[in-house]
Symmetry: C2
Subunit: 368 residues, 2 copies
């Protein structure tokens, strides 16, 4: 037989992945019961010593009560351990514990544990199931939803990773009782960001919250986490692989990343940098005539202040911040791309932001 063209058409239809994010106080102790339906051969809990000390027993007891076998893998606390060495350590511990393709992973912790534990799940024996149990406010409203997993390399952050969705996310706001106030503020920056992107209701709720985290009612805490998570879920469903819509989640991040970098990732936490970045976005939106709601700047400043989040970065050099923005991967051919607020609950992706104007705004923010 002689054929003109020998071409094999391969069509892979991955099942649509559906999963639930459940937000409920006291949920961490009931994770075992929920996941018993998957009948995993082994449950691998990945955590750090701090979080394990606070919440490990609750989770593990629940897993045991559900009649499931478990093991724990403890990695050191901190972003600098989100690296290939620790990932290899996790693989090794999983092998030693006898994890197979029917085993499951539970990252119990904040973003670092979630990213690295999720990536271990994504790649161990070409992928096993996992469920998130986020223990920081930031992880609850941000990194636990959307399936972005990965590790840092020597050359930069999140350079090795995957899009790999969890089977469920168990968000238990009661674990936040052990979270330091500074970490709570950090998470609030992302909650506020979500509100600005997509929910006037959430924004108004935040305006009415008591100042001290400990004074926020259980119901209000569940509700703001739920609403913020819902906004993220809606956006990523529309754009899983970050091509368009998902960029909206970068509100405050263009300037924010530059601030973090200029401060050598020590002076500003991620949430603090995003807070200042949101203020920058409002100022740019106003300059460009995009901002419709003139009271917005004042309202934003007020809720950022309320949660001890900065609205300026007076100790940084404007030129250095500006330079750091220029190497940012979001820069497109000489013009800056920004997510800019129109009004509370509505943002726009704007490609052609003038560089000199951006520098002017940064200078303003860096003033004493």
């Amino acid at each position: 037989m002689c054929r003109a063209i020998r071409e094999i058409a391969v069509e892979i239809k991955p099942e649509p992945v559906r999963y639930s994010v459940i937000v409920k106080s006291g949920l961490a102790g009931r994770v075992g019961k929920y996941i018993s339906k998957y009948n995993p051969s082994l449950v691998v809990v990945i955590s750090n010593p701090t979080v394990m000390g606070f919440h490990g027993k609750l989770l593990l007891d629940g897993i045991q009560d559900a009649g499931l076998k478990s093991c724990t893998v403890i990695v050191p606390d901190g972003e600098k351990y989100k690296n290939p060495e620790q990932l290899n350590y996790i693989y090794g511990e999983m092998i030693r514990a006898g994890a197979d393709r029917r085993s499951m992973v539970i990252p119990l912790g904040g973003g670092v544990i979630g990213d690295m534990g999720g990536f271990a799940a994504a790649t161990y024996m070409r992928g096993v199931g996992y469920v998130h149990v986020p223990t920081t406010l930031l992880a609850m409203v941000d990194s636990s939803i959307g399936g972005k997993v990965g590790i840092d390399l020597l050359y930069g952050k999140n350079l090795a990773g995957a899009f790999y969705q969890p089977w469920m996310v168990f968000t238990d706001p009661s674990v936040l009782a052990t979270l330091p106030d500074a970490e709570f503020s950090n998470g609030m920056a992302e909650v506020i960001k979500s509100a600005v992107i997509g929910s006037p209701t959430l924004f108004e709720m935040i305006e009415k919250l008591p100042i001290k985290p400990g004074n926020i009612s259980k119901n209000d805490l569940e509700e703001i986490i739920f609403l913020a998570g819902k906004i993220k879920a809606d956006i990523i469903q529309a754009d899983v692989y970050e091509k368009n819509e998902r960029m909206k989640l970068n509100l405050g991040h263009t300037t924010g990343h530059a601030i973090e970098k200029t401060a050598n990732f020590t002076g500003f936490s991620h949430g603090q940098a995003v807070a200042v970045g949101m203020v920058a976005a409002v100022m740019i939106a106003e300059e460009m005539g995009i901002l419709e709601d003139k009271s917005f700047y004042v309202r934003l400043e007020k809720i950022l202040n309320k949660f001890n989040l900065p609205v300026k970065c007076p100790n940084l050099s404007p030129d250095k911040v500006h330079e750091a923005m220029n190497v940012d991967k979001k820069r497109m051919g000489g013009m800056h791309r920004f997510v800019l607020p129109v009004r509370v609950g509505c943002v726009r992706i704007v490609e052609n932001v003038n560089d000199a104007m951006v520098l002017g705004v940064i200078r303003e923010l860096c003033k004493d």
Copy 2:
């Protein structure tokens, strides 16, 4: 607002992935032209020194002629280099060359390069596109189709990996001119396996081929690679994540893996081990009364002999081979799972294969 249950339903709809495997002599030089439609910011060719020496210029010239930027990453030749260290080296070289999310990877080589290069593509910045250019017969008919990518860990083979489909596969049989005869035989074992699983036509074609690889006509070579690849593609489309149908591709592998392991991965090549494994499968099928075609054993032995593939393993200890099978991950609760031939072009997955009978067959194969 007080809600009874706060649950966010997330539904991710990954696009169905469609790609073409094109089989045509002389294709390697035209890859650049084909991929220019993707407009990659950089093309990262990953290869080893041997393959790069033979076929690198042809590929790179074509990429340059298409007006695309490229760089090469060379890793040492051999399975032992399919490891985390080399993967990290690849990441580093990609960073240094300026690869971003719009860059593409081309693994140019056999299974080792394809697996590791594909895994680098799957995980670099959470995944970039890649196209395969397989240069061994084995990779052409087996590993380049199906999206299994990964690396070996200290603890075992392919322990870190993913299912990640290429954008295209460019199979150029003319590159096989530089392949050692032993490697050609190795690949023929998988071609024969494909024929046994799904194509009497292919089996008959192989029976009629000339003995020397160099004497096989260009058209016949294209056709057998095309038919073998088509069988693999049909099976993986039905079962991407290896839950049922895809297990058929393991014909000859249950015993084959045990033979490779017993011979310390040096005495038998993968193809040789699979050849003996297929003979074992036929013998077991006959013992169990599953084999319908009684002439099959003789026909199989004849084509294996023709391509210098073994039908026995007389230098191995039957007890050791048997023991190695027992730790094989395919063993299910005390009974062996085998893929067994019914007739040429038809196999069955059989779960309840008697252990003593398997040992008897292995003893037969290990006899002088």
